[in-house]
Amino acid sequence: MKANLLMLVSALGLSTSALANDAKVPVNLPAPKDGQYVHEAPTIDDLMADESVNPELRKVILKGYDMFMNTQQFRGEYVFNDMNCKTCHMGEGRMNWSGPVWPAATTLPDFRGKNQHVNSLEERIAGCFAYSMNGTPPAYGSDDMLAMVAYHQWLAKSAPVYERNIAGRGFSHLGKKIPEDVSYEKGQAVFETNCAICHGSDGAGQKKDGEVVFPPLWGDGAYNWGAGMTRIFTAASFIKNNMPLSKPGSLTDDEAWNVAWYINSQERPQDPRYTGDAKATREQFLNFHKHTRYGTEVNGQVLGQHDNTGDKPFLKPDSLKPRTFE
């Protein structure tokens, strides 16, 4: 137990005081498994203090950091919903168990099941813009894309290339199998008790003076039906290890599954891969949608059977296209 705790401390870079046994609200995160690579991503303070970094490179990394933290500055250009990168990749994209983004810089190019071809780091970032941000990515090779790539690569500093056994990577630590007894009603009860104070009973989040403070979880301002977060297991693990904010690990596994089920039983902007029929689209991309409720009937309606793309004036960005090397 103590060994686990110490590993966790080093994995997070947390001070022991933050994990004191008498904490009223402890930071409860999973311990890394034996043999896993545990990365400590550098901070912006580290970047500023590192004199070996060329000043021009530092400027570009900082631009990427700014894009990551305030992606809404590109609202109507790259982003057509209320999301920022940091909304899902919490802790500046550095935190293990919060979808750290640096592994994309060390494990790509690689084959991705989602689009069935070999993806580059740029293409992976583009996927986030197309689905989670309900938008279209900065052009490949553009200044904006290079800045994003530079920030990812900086965070990966000193990590082994193509090491895949990474502690705290992605959102899957609860496994992929949805418990059989999940229910909309149980999820709704968890939501009202723990989530509604910030995200609202209608899931629309909250803004102040036009600025998003608490992101929407469904509806036009939320991630679309092609986003990884629509998978029940992804949302369940994200919620378990990140929500409510400042209380990771405070919900039971059961609560996390049920509330993920409830949130992802709500409508949201169309999957950019939509063929005109949600059930057919689900079948075509079943390796993804077998984990979502898209194209299935919930409360008398087939989820995703609509032409609503939210604020986005198109369905599919040009960046989403197959790639072959023949």
Partner: protein, 220 residues
């Protein structure tokens, strides 16, 4: 005596959860601010008629805070989730309507100018970092992530921090740490407060106190 309080609190909770929310009347609130609840000191003795409070004494500014937030604090003193030997006896005779009236009055008072920042650039830089970026290595999210842009407050659950007195902010962070304040919804503040270092508390209180407050939108 205690039983009566519980009943009053319960009645208040039922009242605000009802379909029609009771409205505070600022003019009636002003009388209570000047006269008190009949058994203790009047509000203005510490918070001022203008709601400016007092940094040296650790009395919070109430002017321009969200009315529903102010009202909830008075109820919480009476229910014991927020402990203050000064505040509790001074609000324990207020009816739910009187609580709403006092809250409405103070919410409507103009926000005073922020105090000048102390000449300590290093402390202010650290404070700004906690307020705007947090310290994720200690699992401390930025103040802004709940208290809204520039920590000016978000609805009735997350009060404005900008322009609040530094001594009061410090005192409250310590109250969460020692358990004398437990009225944060879903314990959203407790964990953050206990993870902050002494230096970070000093820095963030100083920084926030030096920012100009803007009156809450919900202020009536």
């Amino acid at each position: 005596m205690l039983k009566t309080h519980w009943r009053l609190t319960l009645a208040g909770a039922l009242l605000i959860s009802g379909a029609v929310q009771a409205q505070g009347v600022a003019a009636d609130g002003q009388k209570i601010v000047m006269q008190g609840d009949g058994s203790g000191a009047p509000c203005l003795a510490c918070h001022g008629l203008d709601g400016a409070g007092n940094n040296a004494a650790g009395f919070p500014r109430l002017a321009g805070l969200d009315a529903a937030y102010i009202a909830k604090q008075m109820r919480d003193y009476n229910s014991g989730t927020r402990v203050s030997p000064i505040m509790q006896p001074n609000v324990d005779n207020l009816s739910e309507q009187q609580i709403l009236d006092v809250a409405a009055y103070y919410a409507q008072q103009p926000v005073p100018a922020a105090a000048a920042a102390p000449d300590d650039a290093e402390l202010l830089t650290l404070g700004e970092k906690i307020a705007t970026r947090g310290d994720w290595n200690q699992y401390i999210p930025a103040c802004e992530s709940c208290h809204g842009p520039d920590s000016q407050g978000m609805g009735s659950a997350f009060p404005g921090l900008a322009g609040q007195h530094p001594n009061y902010i410090k005192q409250q962070l310590n109250a969460w740490r020692d358990g004398s304040r437990q009225n944060d919804p879903n314990q959203l503040m407790t964990g953050v407060a206990e993870r902050l270092s002494e230096q970070q508390i000093e820095a963030v209180s100083t920084y926030l106190g030096a920012q100009q407050a803007v009156a809450a939108e919900g202020g009536q």
